[in-house]
Symmetry: C2
C-alpha cells in the first residue's frame, strides 16, 4: 500500500484528489498535513486509511519529525496561500507560505536521504503578461512573474530544479492553470460569482452584481481533471520534468457570467467594482497541454458547462443546508 | 546630512563603502545593522556619524521598528549569506538570509510608505552556466540559477522588480560579480589562497597547496571599485534599473595563483582537493560593464596586480599582528 504525504490536506484540491483515489480503488495510506482542521469523514472512504496532523509547515523541526517518522512514497504538495489578491496585501506571508514551506519540505527530504517522489505545484501566473501571439503557452515560454504570488511560485520552481538536478531529488513540477469545481472557496472569482448568483436566485432578487474585471480570459480546468493529471504525473512522469496542467481553452469571466445567468435563469447586470481590480492583473492566459496529453494520455473530461452546473449545485445545497 | 541604513554593516564591503564616503568627504549619518559585532573605530571617521544595532533581519517586527524610527534616505542592503559553497550545505539558511531578510526590509518600507532609495545587491551567479559565445554577459541575458544561493538572489531580484513596478518603491538592482580586496574573509577562494601563501612565505615553507578548481574563470573586481559603483548607483541611477557591476575582464584562478607566486616569490605546487570542488560550479563568468560605465562615468581603477598586492599586505600585517 502506497504512502502519500499530502500538504494542504484540508483544501479543495486535496478533497478531489482523495475522491479520485477512492473512485479508482487505489488503496493508499494518507498522512494529511494542514494548518487548518479538515472536514472529512474518514469512515466514508473504503480504500483509504488516514492520519491527520495539524502542522505549520514553516516549523522546520516539525516538518523533519514528520518526514523522519513517515518516510512517504509520494509527497503531493498542495499547501499554498494561492490567492494573487492576498499576495498583494500580505506579500511576506504569501511568500513564506508558498516558497519557504516548500523549501522546508524539500530540504528535510534531502537531509533524510528519502526517495520520496514529489509533486511541486506551480502556477500559470509564473508566465506573467504575455503576447497574444505566444498563446497557448508552451512550457518553454520564459517566466516573468509580476505579482508577489507569482514570484513565490517561480522561486519554488527554481528551488525544485536545483534540488532535482544537483541534489538528485525526485521531483515533478507543474504549472497549473486556474482550477474550478465544487468546494472551492469564494475567495476566487468564479465561485464568488456563482455563490452570489445562487443567493440572488434562491431569494428571487433582481439588480446588479459587483465584480472584478470580467474581460480577463483564463484557461479554467475542472479540479477533477486537475487531480487526475496530478495522479498521472506523480506516478508516471519523468523525474525533473515540468508540465502545464490546463484545458488548453480560454474563456472570459464575462462569458462565464453569461453562461451562469442562462443556467440559473436570472436577470442581472454586472458592474465593475474598482476595488476588486488587481494591480497588474494578467489579461489573458491560455496554456498548451500537449505535453501532458501526449506523454500520459491525459485529457480533460469535464466541459465548462458541467463544471459550472456542479458548482451551482454545490452552492445551492450549501445554501439550503444553511451553510451561508 | 543624508541618512544611510546599511545592512551587513560588519562585513568587508561595508568597510570599504564607509572608507569611500570618508575619503570623498560625504558627510553622512549611518545606521549600521548586522547580526554580528563590528570592529570599526567610529572616532577615526571625520565625516561620518554612526549608530549601530545588532539585529537579525529575519525579525520582521524589529526591522519595522528600525525603519519606523529611522526613515533612511538610502538603504544599502549588503547583508547576505553570500557563499555559494555554504548554500549547498545549508540551503534553507542561505535562502532565508538572502531572500527573506530582503523581503522583510522591502515590505517594511512599503507598509510605512517611506521614500527610501534602495540598492538591492544581486550576483553574477544569477546567470548560471553560460555559453562562451554569450560572454561578456549583458544585463539582458536570461537568468538561470543553478545553486541554492543563486536561486535566492534571483528571487530577491524578482521581488525587487515587483516592489518597484507595482508598489512604486525606489529600487536599483545590481548583479555584482566577484569582489576581491583587503579584509575579505578566507571563506572565499582568492583570500584563502593568498592567506595560505603568505603563511608559507612568512614561515619559509615549501611544498604543495590544496585548492579547489583553478581552471574556473571569474570577473574579479576590486571591492573599492565596487563601492564607488554602489555610491553612483544609489545616488544617481534611474529607479527600477538593473546593472552589472564588474571589471569586464576574466581571469582564471590559475593565473591569479601564478601572479601570487611571482609577487611573493614562493615556489609552490598547486593540487586540486576534490572536496573543494562544488557541484555544478560555473566554469566561466565575465560581465559586460558598458551600461554602468556609460550611464555613470564609472570605471574600475584598481588593476588585478594592485588588488593582489594590497590583499597580500593585509594578510602579512594580520599575520605579523598575530591575527592568524
Amino acid at each position: 500500500m502506497e504512502k502519500y504525504l499530502i500538504t494542504g490536506f484540508s483544501g479543495f484540491v486535496c478533497r478531489h484528489f482523495l475522491e479520485y483515489l477512492e473512485k479508482n480503488e487505489k488503496k493508499s495510506y494518507i498522512l494529511g498535513l494542514d494548518i487548518r482542521d479538515h472536514e472529512y469523514k474518514f469512515e466514508s472512504f473504503r480504500f483509504l486509511t488516514f492520519e491527520f496532523l495539524k502542522v505549520d509547515l514553516l516549523d522546520r523541526i516539525k516538518v523533519e519529525d514528520v518526514l523522519t517518522k513517515y518516510k512517504p512514497d509520494y509527497l503531493l504538495h498542495l499547501a499554498s496561500f494561492s490567492s494573487v489578491a492576498y499576495s498583494w496585501k500580505e506579500p511576506v506571508f504569501s511568500f513564506q507560505n508558498n516558497t519557504n514551506i516548500f523549501l522546508n519540505l524539500l530540504d528535510a527530504i534531502r537531509k533524510l536521504g528519502l526517495s520520496t517522489r514529489i509533486l511541486s505545484i506551480g502556477s500559470s501566473e509564473e508566465y506573467g503578461n504575455v503576447d497574444i501571439k505566444d498563446l497557448p503557452l508552451k512550457e518553454s515560454h520564459p517566466l516573468n512573474p509580476i505579482s508577489p504570488y507569482s514570484v513565490a511560485r517561480v522561486s519554488q520552481e527554481m528551488l525544485s530544479r536545483v534540488y532535482s538536478k544537483s541534489y538528485g531529488l525526485d521531483i515533478i513540477m507543474t504549472r497549473s492553470f486556474n482550477h474550478i469545481g465544487p468546494y472551492q472557496t469564494d475567495a476566487f472569482a468564479v465561485p464568488s460569482i456563482i455563490k452570489q448568483l445562487v443567493l440572488i436566485k434562491e431569494k428571487g432578487l433582481k439588480g446588479e452584481l459587483l465584480t472584478g474585471d470580467l474581460e480577463i480570459v483564463r484557461d479554467f480546468t475542472d479540479v477533477r481533471d486537475i487531480v487526475s493529471a496530478y495522479y498521472l504525473l506523480l506516478t508516471r512522469a519523468e523525474s525533473g520534468s515540468i508540465y502545464n496542467v490546463c484545458s488548453g481553452k480560454g474563456i472570459s469571466l464575462k462569458q462565464i457570467a453569461e453562461k451562469l445567468c442562462e443556467i440559473l435563469d436570472v436577470d442581472i447586470t454586472f458592474k465593475t467594482d474598482n476595488s476588486l481590480i488587481r494591480p497588474n492583473d494578467l489579461k489573458i492566459i491560455i496554456g498548451l497541454n500537449k505535453k501532458l496529453c501526449s506523454d500520459h494520455k491525459w485529457e480533460p473530461v469535464y466541459s465548462i458547462e458541467r463544471s459550472l452546473n456542479d458548482i451551482i449545485d454545490y452552492f445551492k445545497s450549501a445554501y439550503r443546508g444553511n451553510k451561508f
